[in-house]
Subunit: 300 residues, 2 copies
């Protein structure tokens, strides 16, 4: 397939590296500098002690002048609105689109798109961008995809041609899939960033464990989830499997970058307001992280 | 007056230094080492750029063998129970007692005492202990005292003979006095320790400000306080007056010491349980600080 990947962050680099092994990939970046670096040096992927390098075509996002079978949108949720002017200028005959954002805030945004096929994704790989051309693949996982609109055809093709170590799984219900990940993110991300601890400490510290359970309870109430026990088992499993990792939100705070708090707890705050529910803990941690963003941004 | 001061922390050293100027003070410490140091070097008080030194008699707490007109108990609330065996062995004819602990947890404890006169105090001085013989007087304030049991006689004598820069004020209602300080401590101490910021940031950061107001609301509900507006003005005034200070709880966390969270939010948690009130934010910050105590204690 001819594939475009939008966004030169950790996910954009990771997907470009792997998908280019079996497809013809063009990576679209926000800056000219990054596109030039990648065209010159390729993308370097680090797995443990091993370095891999692969040449990949990269372009600045404004020089979009082609059509693709599949377009992966890997930018953070809060940058999606910047893409709107671009998307509206596309030739009508673009192919399918895949959205890999955290949270559920981006779902409402998809209705405006004209693409015939739209998939939503939930990425379970661990990855961090080390520099504009280098991504560290910290934890092998899988990419879950579910159709938001259109057929599963492109998804099946992607799944059938997946490179080694980079599997795709077909999910029947995009809402369930996103909610499952949202619950994990709503607990682990804000608390690790608030307490400045690796993921495992959320369970290992008995007082943080209590807080995690309270926050989880509120989130399941807002999302009107009934199989709470199953989801809590899942949150705990992720904490254990990624015990020594520092969450993306903690890393964002440490680097003075904007976090994804609006897509995660911000979405729950809006849902709760719509449903007129009281959510003291979600509100607290939303404000806590927003306050920390200002503080760390100022210190930068 | 013949005065005993129990506890060689910041308050114990501060009160010993000042009261010894007009009274005959003996300072009782938990360790022999500190008593010996003080007997050798005296107490050094630092105010801004100025050093003052004064010779003071110090003894180990176990060598108590005298009677006093007034006994100041300056140890932290969580150490009060350790004093019980000592107090029960005192000759009956001890004088009045003054308790300077934060929170209100110690008030229930006073009923067991046999002393005829008991005062409760609320200290508004800023002080930190720099080493076993040195205290820094960071902010001049006053000491409010209210009778819990007995007459105001000793209190009036203390007030009348107060040394320069160390005034005492007579308060009519010990509950009101302690509640006022508890509300200040319940908001400023846990939040500054949780966010790792100086006191002023609780108001200056708009998101922390929101959290402070929510926490304050819960605390006033538990304490059944009606003049909320007045108390919120007071909390804000203290934040502003001590804007650049790091709170005692933040300093305790930074040094891996036990905090006074049990005497402050722990007291509110118990009160709320007794009154069957839901207090999500107080519970959250109680657990937050307890979790941080473990974490910082382990790191020490």
């Amino acid at each position: 397939m001819k594939i475009a990947i939008i966004g030169g962050g950790a996910l954009g680099l990771l997907f470009s590296y792997y998908l280019n092994q079996v497809h013809e990939v063009t990576l679209y970046t926000r800056t000219n500098e990054q596109a030039e670096c990648i065209n010159r040096e390729g993308i370097c992927l680090i797995e443990g002690e091993v370095f891999h390098r692969q040449l990949i075509q990269a372009k600045h996002i404004d020089s979009w002048n082609d059509t693709y079978d599949l377009i992966f949108v890997t930018v953070k949720g809060y940058h999606l609105s910047l893409l709107m002017p671009l998307v509206s200028q596309w030739p009508i005959k673009q192919g399918g689109m895949v959205f890999l954002q955290n949270g559920m805030g981006h779902v409402n945004w998809l209705a405006k798109l004209t693409a015939e096929t739209i998939y939503l994704g939930s990425v379970e790989h661990g990855a961090s961008r080390l520099n504009p051309t280098t991504v560290s693949h910290n934890g092998q996982g899988l990419t879950r995809l579910a159709a938001y609109r259109g057929t599963d055809d492109l998804l099946m093709e992607l799944k059938g041609t997946a490179p080694k170590g980079f599997p795709f799984v077909n999910e029947p219900d995009y809402k369930m899939m996103l909610m499952k990940k949202l619950l994990v993110n709503a607990v682990i991300n804000p608390l690790t960033a608030a307490f400045n601890v690796p993921n495992g400490m959320i369970l290992a510290n008995p007082f943080y464990h209590k807080i995690a359970l309270h926050l989880f309870e509120e989130a399941t109430t807002v999302l009107e989830i009934h199989n709470k026990h199953e989801h809590w088992q899942n949150v705990q499993a992720v904490c254990r499997q990624t015990a020594t990792n520092r969450s993306s939100m903690l890393k964002d705070i440490e680097s003075g970058r904007e976090t994804e708090i609006d897509a995660i707890l911000g979405y729950l705050v809006e849902e709760a307001a719509r449903k007129q529910m009281a959510i003291p803990l979600i509100t607290n941690y939303y404000n806590h992280i927003k306050g920390k963003e200002i503080l760390m941004g100022d210190a930068k």
